[in-house]
């Protein structure tokens, strides 16, 4: 148990298994802003995003996962489905699902999310508002059933 071999994909050390970057996430379509990159402006994306560099401006990143790595420094409001923070963030964070602050995280701003995990040692200055953060489903289930029936008709 204590001599557990480290996963090659793991980038961040954590004494607790609470906050990890799973290999599944790595396999998904992901954009990476490396540690030497500095960006000033507007950024939007519809895929997972890992920020290890510096970003100043706005980040519109709805429905996907955003990770601010240990080296990451963000001065922007963040809007994403899940937000994992290991580095520094100055700005408001809205996580549709969960916001995780690792022990190395340093956050100055307000957090609005459905669930939050804050590791021992994480620095946070701001207000947390929880719940009622989920967006309505894009399609009602009945429509999907109707569509399936239509497809079955066309095939049959």
């Amino acid at each position: 148990m204590f001599n557990k071999k480290k996963d090659d994909h793991m980038e961040y050390e954590s004494s607790e298994p609470v906050i990890t970057t799973s290999p599944d996430v790595r396999r998904r379509k992901t954009s990476v802003i490396g540690p030497t990159l500095k960006f000033k402006g507007e950024l939007s994306a519809n895929e997972d995003l890992i920020i290890e560099g510096e970003i100043e401006g706005t980040i519109a990143h709805q429905d996907k996962n955003l990770t601010v790595g240990k080296e990451g420094r963000v001065k922007a409001d963040i809007d994403a489905r899940t937000v994992d923070i290991y580095g520094k963030v100055e700005g408001d964070i809205r996580g549709e699902d969960i916001v995780k602050l690792a022990k190395s995280a340093d956050v100055k701003g307000n957090i609005r999310c459905a669930r939050i995990v804050m590791e021992d040692g994480a620095q946070f200055s701001g207000k947390i508002e929880m719940g009622h953060n989920k967006k309505p489903a894009s399609k009602p289930a009945s429509l999907t059933v109707a569509e399936s029936a239509k497809q079955a008709e066309s095939v049959g």
Binding site: T30, S31, G41, L43, A45, G57
Partner: protein
């Protein structure tokens, strides 16, 4: 892990790069590479502005309208 601007990413602004960068998404603005960095522009990328790097690698068929490239430029298949 190299830096990648994925196909759904849209960036408007100024980017300073100190490592290799691959662009598949949309970038409007200025990209400035430092030292020996390579900026690779994929065919699906949409660029507008200026890209300056030690080596700018552009995939054949990339739309470079309204884009100024500077540095060593290489066309790749």
């Amino acid at each position: 892990m190299p830096s990648i601007i994925g196909s759904t990413v849209v960036m408007n602004g100024e980017l300073i790069v100190g490592e290799d960068l691959e662009i598949k998404g949309t970038f409007n603005g200025t990209i400035t590479g430092q030292s020996q960095d390579t900026v690779t522009v994929r065919r699906i990328a949409r660029l507008s502005g200026e890209v300056s790097a030690s080596l700018v690698q552009v995939e054949d068929g990339t739309n470079l309208e309204n884009t100024v490239l500077s540095g060593r430029i290489r066309l790749a298949e």
